[in-house]
């Protein structure tokens, strides 16, 4: 835990702290805006601004946590200059992807299109599409929860990586 705090201190208390804050704000805002539309997308069957009408407070919080959390991980990783940061990046990207799956794969034509692309017959498509797509509908909350855990984990890993490789700011003499 101490290493995590050291990582934060090195990134957000060092000489390049303004750049770090700017990166978190800019990247976090873009990603949050994206997830504000993406998380309720399954309610409207795809990525559409209409989905904003179905945004709940808990989804909005999750979108902000994913967006700014991932931006935080990226900023910490940038501070660590990619040293030992691969795990953090993979976990963070995995988290972002998992949150996008329900809105992308449930109630859109992606799954039947993929089945058709792999040469599935009409009866197979009609009997299989629901089996796959319904998983994303039924376990949507679990996907979002897993994403949040993934992004949180990536922040911790990135902070630890940074603590191991970043130079801490020197206290004023």
């Amino acid at each position: 835990m101490r290493q995590v705090f050291r990582g934060f201190a090195a990134t957000f208390g060092g000489p390049r702290r303004l750049r770090a804050y700017a990166l978190v704000l800019a990247l976090g805002s873009v990603l949050t805006a994206f997830y504000l539309v993406m998380l309720p997308a399954s309610a409207v069957g795809g990525f559409s601004l209409v989905a904003l009408q179905y945004l709940t407070p808990s989804l909005a919080l999750a979108a902000a946590a994913l967006g700014y959390g991932f931006a935080l991980a990226v900023t910490l990783n940038a501070g660590a200059l990619a040293r030992r940061s691969r795990a953090a990046g993979a976990v963070g990207i995995g988290g972002l992807l998992a949150a996008a799956l329900p809105g992308s794969l449930c109630c859109t034509s992606i799954i039947p299109s993929l089945l058709a692309a792999f040469g599935a017959s009409v009866p197979t498509i009609l009997g299989t599409t629901g089996k796959i797509a319904s998983i994303f509908a039924r376990f949507e909350s679990a996907f979002i929860a897993a994403s949040l855990i993934g992004v949180a984990l990536s922040v911790v890993l990135a902070a630890r990586s940074c603590a191991a490789s970043c130079s801490l700011p020197t206290p004023p003499s």
Binding site: G45, F47, G89, T108, S109, P112, V122, G127, S134
Partner: protein, 174 residues
């Protein structure tokens, strides 16, 4: 490299729209709508003759599909408008919910509220053969707009998003 693929996938997936590429032949715009007799939830049958001369929305849903539920709520909030324009709604559950049986259609219908019982709204279930003809792509939440002559004038999906097109169809049908 794996990270790059992941980012590419994350970028592309959300924007993959709801329009499937051309594959098996589904009824197309300009063609007559298939003259099926539909099995309704109340045990009655909806014969082609009952729809003849009336514009209607033929809509295929799965009961576990969130966008179908949202779309039903949106259509429910406009059902009086559709009725005023002489438009009927034929909302049909896809056979076997495309391989993943969801809640009963009756409980799905219940979530729409009392508007679901409107006289111009028919609820029923497609047979496997009807599903294969009307939805050979296996898409969910797709619909046909059929004019008073029984001709398909539009094929689309997700009424929660495309309500304006349905409203225009209804206004033109009047």
């Amino acid at each position: 490299m794996k990270l790059l693929w992941s980012i590419a996938l994350a970028t592309v997936l959300p924007f993959a729209g709801t329009t499937a590429p051309a594959r098996a032949a589904a009824p197309a715009v300009g063609q007559p709508a298939p003259a099926f007799t539909y099995r309704l939830l109340d045990g009655h049958q909806l014969a082609p003759g009952a729809l003849r001369g009336h514009p209607y929305l033929l809509w295929m849903v799965a009961t576990w599909c969130p966008s179908c539920q949202t779309g039903s709520t949106v259509v429910g909030s406009h059902i009086a408008f559709l009725r005023a324009h002489g438009v009927r709604v034929v909302e049909m559950e896809l056979a076997g919910d495309l391989g993943a049986p969801g809640p009963a259609l009756a409980s799905f219908q219940k979530q729409v509220g009392k508007n679901a019982a409107a006289a111009n709204w028919y609820w029923g279930e497609l047979t496997q053969a009807q599903t294969a003809v009307l939805d050979p792509h296996g898409d969910m939440d797709v619909y046909y707009l059929v004019d008073g002559h029984g001709k398909i004038v539009a094929v689309s999906g997700n009424p929660a998003v495309t309500w304006d097109a349905i409203a225009r169809f209804a206004a033109a049908a009047h």
